[in-house]
């Protein structure tokens, strides 16, 4: 559809962003007969299967195989890259004092194109942290309010898990509920670790907590239940033709969930877009929303201005405006806040952009006493969930272990770095080299420990006229500090990690000097090197009252009643779960409210 035609159409809803929230919303709204336009800032290069394979080729040939490697941005829709952390360049303006060490991608499908797929529900206690432990803030919703939406989200994303593994920390499931697919088999490495670790006691706060290696719910296709049909690869050609692909109906163990699943066995937002009622959906890619027009008296949104580019290597663009009955920002926690601020809509309480959080995470790594079969299977299949909740949260942050199947790839850049070290430093060659690598690589073990972070208004996304992108739009200025609550959690997490590795007989090789470069924080005489989990949240917080929040429990703007801001930005707290499933559940709830209001 031409920009003129888009302008002339009467839309029920305009959605900014074709990531998981925008796509789920578009699916629900179009199926209710509402006419929806999505404006996506980035290109639509992954929808045709050939294009997707092009991204895969990018990954194969990239010298540095970081999370952004397969997904280079368009000039007009730049994105953060963690490789910029060290140099200080890039899209984010890091205002400190600590670095926000995460990234996201701007293209159709969003960051679901390179997420790990972890689909944990939040714990009931995560929604009432203030009431229970005097920390953070309570949500205007509780677990019971979201439970049925969690179910629906698990079926929309296609989550593989067994209920029996997931009922812990007060998480309840409806009688008879089943995830759509059986749990992803635990890796051999998980099984070896579980044999050693299950039942071991660790002391956290005043409690002794038994640990257990546990399968986590993953949005990766496994064996379906109850006639559920796993959604595989998408192949929508540029002329609109859709070709059926018999690829990706099962996870095949490519050990590459991030940064790209080669067979599309893992959920991405493009799958939900395919399930929308396409008669009522228009998706315009390479359209950067640049201003929200608001009626100064009523506060109602009157239109959204966007910059359309055709050449991905050039900032040349044209400017257009669209109008609808309701508007949704589903562009990402940072981009939603940025767009509000650049439209002069920081809010009477100035809360837009305030309260940015992530899961700063630590790595531990070592060598198992026996081969555990590293570098096989999904990037990870199990975690240790036992320290995600408990009374200790009155004192310090909770944390969660993810147990890798990818050797030391994430921590040191292995196997490449292991090979280079053996050849260049140890001087090995020939059969001695081969024997050494055969001995070491299959024994490499790593864990990643995501630590909870609470909102603080000092941590924020803001804009500054001095820092602009090639289109002349503001770049996000990130102010970020990891406070003592989280640092104390990191200290406990690091200690528990040492105990777990020791218990499993794993020779601890955790050493920042040998690892890939990560920013550091100091606490109580210790130095922690942390990485971001890409779990941006908290920038348009939801609450019970307009004075203390940006959106209500339905993610509807208090000040602009035909505007919704959806996604992680709405979270008052994030606990320790990867946010996508909760974002999806909230979005499905918002879709229901919107349909009730508009249909």
């Amino acid at each position: 559809m031409s920009d003129q035609a888009v302008h002339d159409q009467s839309w029920d809803v305009v959605i900014v962003g074709a990531g998981v929230c925008g796509a789920l919303l578009a699916k629900q709204l179009t199926r209710a007969g509402l006419r929806v336009l999505i404006l996506e800032a980035g290109p639509d290069t992954a929808s045709p299967f050939d294009g997707y394979l092009g991204h895969l080729e990018h990954f194969y040939t990239a010298a540095s195989k970081g999370i952004g490697a397969p997904w280079p941005p368009a000039v007009s829709a730049p994105q953060p890259d963690t490789a910029d952390l060290r140099t200080g360049g890039g899209y984010f303006v890091q205002n400190g004092p600590d670095k926000h060490a995460s990234s996201y991608s701007r293209l159709l499908g969003g960051s679901t194109l390179h997420w790990l797929g972890v689909s944990l529900r939040m714990l009931p206690e995560d929604f009432e942290l203030r009431s229970r432990y005097g920390r953070g803030q309570d949500w205007p919703l509780d677990y019971a309010d979201l439970e049925s939406y969690y179910e629906r989200a698990e079926w929309e994303l296609g989550v593989s898990a067994d209920v029996a593994d997931q009922a812990h920390h007060g998480i309840e499931f409806r009688q008879g509920y089943e995830y759509p697919m059986r749990r992803v088999p635990l890796s051999y490495s998980d099984q070896v670790l579980a044999d050693a670790v299950d039942g071991m006691l660790v002391t956290v706060g005043d409690e002794q907590v038994p640990l257990k290696v546990r399968s986590y719910p993953a949005a990766r296709n496994s064996i379906p239940r109850d006639g559920y049909r796993p959604a595989g690869a998408v192949d929508r050609r540029s002329d609109g033709q859709v070709v059926t692909r018999y690829t990706g109906q099962r996870c095949a163990g490519n050990t590459s969930c991030t940064p790209i699943c080669p067979v599309e066995a893992k959920y991405h937002a493009g799958k939900s877009l395919e399930q929308a009622d396409r008669r009522y959906l228009e998706v315009t890619a390479q359209a950067v929303a640049s201003k929200i027009h608001v009626d100064p008296v009523s506060g109602m949104v009157q239109g959204i201005e966007y910059q359309r580019y055709t050449d991905r290597t050039s900032p040349r663009h044209t400017v257009h405006t669209v109008r609808a009955r309701a508007y949704v920002l589903a562009a990402h926690a940072v981009e939603n806040a940025k767009l509000m601020l650049m439209s002069g809509l920081g809010g009477e309480n100035s809360l837009v952009g305030k309260g940015l959080i992530d899961h700063p995470a630590l790595y531990g790594w070592g060598l198992a006493p026996v081969p555990v079969g590293a570098y096989r299977g999904p990037l990870s299949t199990a975690g240790i969930e036992d320290l995600r909740g408990g009374p200790f949260r009155a004192e310090h942050a909770a944390f969660r272990f993810d147990i890798g199947n990818d050797g030391w790839r994430a921590t040191t850049g292995a196997p490449d770095t292991t090979v280079t070290d053996a050849v260049r430093r140890q001087g090995l060659f020939g059969t001695e080299l081969r024997d050494h690598l055969q001995s070491v690589l299959p024994r490499q073990v790593r864990v990643s420990i995501a630590v909870e972070q609470l909102r603080s208004e000092k941590n924020s996304v803001s804009i500054d006229a001095r820092y602009l992108d090639p289109l002349g739009n503001p770049r996000p200025v990130i102010s970020y500090r990891i406070d003592d609550y989280t640092l104390a959690g990191m200290a406990t997490a690091a200690e528990v990690c040492r105990q777990v590795l020791r218990r499993a007989g794993v020779e601890d090789h955790t050493n920042a000097a040998d690892g890939s470069w990560f920013p550091e924080v100091r606490y109580d005489g210790q130095v922690f090197h942390y990485h971001g989990m890409g779990h941006f949240a908290g920038t348009h917080v939801m609450g019970r009252h307009a004075r203390e929040s940006v959106v209500d429990a339905g993610q509807r703007s208090w000040e602009h009643r035909n505007l919704y801001l959806v996604g992680g930005g709405s979270f008052p707290t994030m606990g320790t779960s990867n946010p996508t499933l909760t974002m999806a559940a909230l979005t499905l709830r918002t879709a229901e409210l919107m349909i009730a209001g508009l249909a």
Binding site: L56, E57, F59, Y60, T61, A62, A63, K65, P185, L186, S187, Y188, Q191, S222, R250, C251, A252, G253, N254, T255, S256, I260, P262, V263, P371, V372, G373, A374, Y375, R376, G377, P378, T381, N405, D406, G407, R409, P415, D416, T418, V419, T420, V423, R424, G427, F429, G430, T431, E432, L433, R434, D435, L437, Q438, S439, L441, P442
Partner: protein, 173 residues
């Protein structure tokens, strides 16, 4: 007269390819069948020729050709090639290329002593080179993002690593 003439340019190229393969066997610990099976041997020799200053690739192959036949060619490679200030770093790069599919920038001392090339950067030789890296074979695994093992294969114990054949050493006793 055809290109297969025993004395023509084709023969010289064949001779170089054969030397490179046999040297690669000794350097990597993998047998010639494994290395030829990647289809990358010729490409890797071209990378060496393209990046190194003229004649350096031939110098490496000539040094290998001069090694005494016998049991201890491994030790001879060590002293004659790997310990050599010019040939050592090149040979180590050949090992890294076979294992990683990546050309690694030569050390600064080497570059200032023997010359630089704009192609001498850290780079993946090709997507096929990445997928064929011997590091994945050594790990008993598969390249991340390719040659998938299939649903659930990761739940089984890894295979015992195949014992290294006495590559090169055995073939050229």
């Amino acid at each position: 007269m055809t290109a297969t003439s025993a004395s023509g340019p084709g023969a010289a190229a064949d001779k170089r390819a054969d030397l490179f393969l046999r040297l690669s066997e000794l350097l990597t610990g993998f047998g010639g069948i494994d290395l030829l099976g990647t289809g990358l041997a010729g490409g890797y020799l071209r990378v060496v020729d393209d990046i190194l200053p003229p004649g350096a690739g031939d110098e490496l192959l000539a040094a290998f050709a001069r090694l005494p036949a016998g049991l201890d060619r491994g030790a001879a490679v060590q002293t004659t090639i790997l310990a050599h200030p010019k040939l050592g770093p090149v040979a180590r790069n050949v090992i890294l290329m076979w294992y990683r599919g990546t050309w690694t920038r030569l050390p600064d001392e080497w570059r200032s002593a023997y010359g630089t090339s704009p192609l001498d950067t850290d780079h993946v030789v090709s997507a096929e080179a990445y997928r064929s890296g011997l590091q994945w074979v050594a790990a008993g695994a598969h390249p991340a993002g390719a040659l998938q093992q299939g649903y659930g294969a990761w739940a089984s114990a890894p295979n015992e690593p195949a014992s290294s054949p006495a590559a090169g050493q055995g073939a050229h006793k």
